[in-house]
């Protein structure tokens, strides 16, 4: 909401500078989003009084004067002769820009020396101010001119102003008004709030011709729950026309277009007190047959009822919306916008002023359904002040009289079936102090609330007191809310800080957080870069994944309409984006949640996804390995190293006969019977679609399971005391014999003293029959309690070799 400092000043004295006011408002909880200074006429020119005038020491035609500008004394060098000490004159202060003829550069007053004597401003002639052609001497102002006042104010011209754009929190609808803000400033400064004097009743001059409102219109509330109060007041014989300048300017400064005097008044009063008003043309209300006067009916709209709002759009209403109607048709969409059919026109003579209160939810719903927002709906949605309806109506009548003439019909029709009973809240002094960590004296606490117009209810007690809550403070619901009011007025910045002494908290996730961090450390140490992808993906990106998707009910777009069921599509997307940017060598991982629909609620699972593509090593200028590209063994090795360091043992990799989803070839990674994830080569057709030139290897693991199955316990094993003996085996086997099959054969041979088995060569090609491969293994034998003899090692090794021949049909290669 926008307010201006001059408008605020009508209700409360403000001694702060515009900048200070911005600070005060912000620290009260009314955040100033922006502050804009509006220049007025004669900006920087004030009424000043000449105190002394002496001859200039170096110039006969100049004089040196002492001048009071209302704040301080200044020395001014002046060339005019037509004044004497005591005269009041316009003084342009340094920084002030003087009007100049078109085409000439602007002329700004500065502190400078004239013939060796400093001059701190310029006393002006009427011509210099652009007021007249009279350049004969200074403009001598009347003796009653107020020293220090701006010249604009003195002359009754437009003066400068400051517009504040405020962010009003939704709990404080009362601050959507100038008086609401002024009330806060009054509470903060202690300066009284000055409300405009509004007549309690209007006495028509010609009583017979202007009957009471009640005789001319009736109000019927069909659903008092949705409209708890409706007042109607009437001004007859108005002359609709342009608003006076002050009204136009006030509205325009806060961004409201001036329409006509009557409409402008309703807007002005809404801005002033926060109560939305609506003005109808009385004669456009239909009168029911056999009735003398029209009836205003506040009722629910019929389902599908058509209504054309002021903006010229025809709208289709629903039964949960509220309309203001006569006996035949709706004339306004309650609390949102008036109708075209009852609009105030230039010809309107008799105006009906509506000042009502509607249920916030009803207005919000209508506004949302129709996508129609207005200043009125904005205020009603947040909750309006049911107690202010009549005051606002009288205020509007007063201002219509002032700006459009006419006569106010006496009385009011006030349909207000269930009076608002002010709430009462009790505050314990100790509660305030307990929460704020302060000692605020009881009297001071009462004083703060009193300044906010929360009057005492009964006599304050020893340890607590009660206040009545006016209807405009919809946010005050309990004791705690009063504590906040005291905190605001006391000043949050004055509450001393205290650093809590450390005391351990507890939460089972805390250790998990560290384990995830540890996993991340191992992966980055292995050369992987962490990414963080989008959780929301297009359904098309996950179409080929065998997964039960969790779609969004209300996605922003088709690009983000499902929750990711896997980290891999996101990783592939990041590969694509980088490769497009000529970043072709990528080793990435992501840790994050994926979502799958299950019979019951959707399931969340933390996963680890890895993708490698491009060159394995950073660029180097020599060596055969320099052009090597990432392959599946890089990823396998990376995972093996990761598992070993992370405390996971006994993982198995089982090739999938029919790889699915993104993979060309893949293996299932398991730990015992639990499947941990999958590793494989990305389907090249898919990679090609993503413009990925090099092959891509992928893995995705269930991180939750990984963490749960982790056994990071470490224990010391004594270092070997005796030497080891190595035996190598090179053998030909069928292609179908896997490394795991070899290890199983070793296990079954049960050789004693075997320490390690290491594969050191796999060879196909020259001298190897097709369909076979050569495998070479190194066996290390060692005893922990003696030096192993050659014969002992050979005996153990023989068992292994025999097992290979029998179980794997291996043919040993010599030398």
């Amino acid at each position: 909401m926008k307010v201006t400092i001059n408008w605020l000043r009508r209700y409360v004295d403000i001694s702060w500078t515009p900048e200070e006011l911005r600070e005060r408002l912000t620290m009260l909880g009314v955040e100033v989003e922006s502050m804009r200074k509006l220049g007025g006429e004669f900006e920087g020119v004030v009424v000043a009084q000449v105190l002394t005038a002496d001859k200039h020491p170096n110039a006969d035609k100049l004089s040196v004067c002492r001048v009071n500008d209302g704040k301080t004394e200044r020395q001014i060098v002046c060339g005019a002769k037509n004044f004497k000490p005591g005269d009041k004159v316009p003084l342009a202060l340094p920084g002030c820009t003087m009007p100049t003829p078109p085409g000439t550069p602007p002329f700004t007053i500065k502190v400078g020396k004239l013939r060796g004597v400093e001059s701190q401003g310029m006393m002006c002639s009427a011509q210099e101010l652009g007021l007249s052609e009279d350049a004969s001497g200074l403009l001598i102002l009347p003796t009653d001119a107020i020293v220090g006042q701006s010249l604009a104010q003195h002359l009754g011209r437009v003066s400068g102003d400051v517009v504040y754009d405020l962010e009003i929190t939704p709990n404080r609808p009362d601050l959507n008004s100038v008086i609401g803000i002024a009330r806060e400033l009054s509470a903060l400064s202690g300066n009284p709030l000055k409300l405009p004097a509004v007549p309690e009743r209007f006495e028509p001059a010609e009583a017979p011709s202007i009957a009471t409102v009640a005789g001319q219109v009736a109000v019927r509330l069909e659903d008092p729950e949705l409209c708890p109060r409706y007042t109607a007041r009437m001004v007859r014989g108005v002359k609709v026309g342009p608003s006076p300048d002050w009204l136009k300017q006030d509205l325009e400064k806060v961004g409201i277009r001036s329409i006509s005097n009557v409409v402008d008044v309703t807007n002005y009063v809404m801005l002033e007190i926060g109560q939305p008003l609506h003005a109808f043309d009385y004669h456009l209300l239909a009168v029911a047959p056999e009735a003398k006067t029209p009836v205003i009916v506040v009722r629910r709209a019929q389902e599908g009822e058509k209504f054309t709002t002021l903006d010229g759009k025809e709208r289709s209403l629903t039964h949960d919306m509220l309309v203001i109607a006569d006996e035949t048709k709706p004339v306004a969409l309650a609390g949102v916008m008036g109708g075209l059919n009852s609009e105030i026109k230039d010809t309107t003579q008799d105006v009906l002023i509506e000042s009502a209160c509607f249920k916030p939810q009803t207005i919000r719903l209508a506004s949302k359904k129709l996508e129609l927002r207005s200043d009125a709906s904005y205020r009603y949605e947040r909750g309006s002040d049911i107690d202010i309806c009549d005051w606002a109506s009288r205020r509007a009548a007063q201002l219509i009289l002032e700006t459009a003439g006419g006569q106010v019909a006496s009385g009011v029709v006030d349909a207000y079936p269930k009076r608002h009973e002010p709430k009462q809240i009790t505050l314990r002094y100790a509660r305030t102090n307990q929460l704020l960590g302060l000692e605020i004296a009881p009297a001071q606490q009462r004083e703060y609330l009193n300044r906010l117009e929360l009057p005492l209810d009964g006599t304050p007690g020893e340890s607590s007191f009660s206040v009545r809550i006016p209807a405009f403070r919809v946010d005050l619901k309990g004791e705690i809310d009063l504590v906040e009011e005291i905190a605001r007025l006391y000043g949050v910045d004055r509450i001393p800080s205290r650093v809590p002494c450390a005391q351990p908290g507890t939460n089972p996730f805390d250790a998990v957080y560290d384990q995830i961090a540890e996993a991340r450390r191992l992966l980055t140490g292995s050369g992987l870069m962490e990414i963080q992808g989008q959780t929301l993906l297009p359904q098309t990106a996950v179409a080929h994944l065998p997964s039960q998707l969790v779609p969004l009910q209300n996605p922003l777009s088709g690009d983000m309409n499902v929750l990711r069921p896997s980290l891999l599509p996101g990783l592939l997307e990041v590969l694509q984006r980088n490769v497009n940017q000529k970043q072709t060598d990528l080793a990435l991982f992501e840790m994050g949640r994926v979502f799958t629909a299950t019979g019951n609620a959707p399931r969340e699972e933390r996963r680890l996804g890895i993708a490698l593509t491009g060159q394995r090593n950073p660029l180097f200028w020599s060596g055969g390995e320099r052009d090597a590209k990432f392959d599946i063994h890089d990823l396998k090795g990376l995972l093996e190293e990761f598992f070993a360091h992370f405390g996971l043992r006994g993982l198995t990799f089982v090739r999938r006969p029919e790889p699915a989803g993104l993979y060309l070839e893949s293996a299932n990674i398991s730990l015992g019977k639990q499947s941990l994830g999958e590793i494989g080569l990305a389907n090249p057709m898919l990679a090609k679609k993503l413009d990925l030139r090099d092959s891509v290897v992928l893995a995705e693991l269930n991180l939750d399971l990984l963490l749960a199955r982790r056994n990071p316990a470490k224990s010391f094993k004594p270092l070997p005391q005796y030497p080891a003996i190595r035996r190598d085996v090179a053998m030909l086997v069928e292609e179908t014999v896997t490394h795991e099959a070899v290890l199983n054969a070793v296990k079954q041979a049960k050789p004693s003293h075997l320490e390690t088995v290491e594969l050191f060569d796999v060879f196909r090609g020259k001298n190897i029959p097709s369909g076979q491969k050569s495998l070479a293994y190194a066996f290390t034998y060692r005893s922990l309690d003696k030096t192993l003899t050659d014969a002992e090692a050979s005996a153990a090794h023989e068992k292994v070799v025999r097992q290979f021949k029998e179980q794997l049909k291996a043919v040993l290669r010599e030398g």
Binding site: E31, P170, P360, G437, A487, P504, I531, R577, N578, E604
Partner: protein
Amino acid sequence: MSTFVESIGPLKDEALAAIVAAADLSQLEQARAAFLGSHGKFVAIMKQMGTLPKEEKPLAGKAINQGKAEIEAALAQRKSDLELKAALPKEPLDFTLPGRRRTLGKNHPLTQATDDIVKIFRKLGFVVADGPEIEDEYHCFDALNTPADHPARDTQDTFYTQSANGAGNNQRLLLRTHTSSVQIRVMKSQPPPVRVIVPGRVYRRDNADATHNPTFQQIEGLYVDKNVTVGDLKGTVAFVFRELLGEEVKLRFRPHYFSYTEPSFEIDFSSALVRKMGKDWLEIAGCGMVHPKVFENVGYDPEVWTGWAFGFGIERIAMIRYGINDIRLFYENDARFLAQF
């Protein structure tokens, strides 16, 4: 026979000179053989020792032993000098050549920021807690005292999933709009006192632009104990942000409104960086004293326990720290971007 003893010195000198003159290991070997080999000159004199009269032997023996030791020492010294010389590369090394590097990965900048924040809170005894990203309305709104018709619940602002809630109630499922939902889960799962922080992803139905992404990350702190005051909140927040953004950071607390805290504040900070951006203050976090209604909802007695909560966006912290001007960069994961942090 004084000439015998006198001949030892010159012979030794001759041997030492030959050793020094040897230019490589093979010449050195020749020199060694020439003097100390089985037919070497020095060995020859040693053999003559036997022919000396008995009274001359001690003096001659001493001189020979000394001479031999000197020659052997010179040989060893020369040998190691020549070996070192042989080990020298033919061309001098160019130490300015780029080395053969092994890539080290990096944590994502948002992870780095989260970790730093977590570390600071842990100094104060906080532990990390966690909760689901798909939430129900109860934990995300109801229990946090959010009015039933609050606009935050609108489908305009909050993502709802199509999946049914299997828990048997009629709660709609949504993507949590703040990590505050975890406050409720933590308090329901344990008695006070509580000191937790909750980092995590949250979701709002905003179109992506330089300052919005439908997915973003928050961190939430919750502190419940006896006699917790606004002063504690201010002190903790000040500690955290000074550690995070530097000692010179200035903070201010502005009264604000959140449904689950009362009083509520927004926190602005000011620093050289903020002033460089042409601003006096930059909003950085929201906070407040836990609303008594929230305590009632989780079964804590608000007369006994008081507490505060505060939360802020992790992207915002990272953007401020690193001068990043577009939130989307975090989720685009350009390798050149990631490599900078």
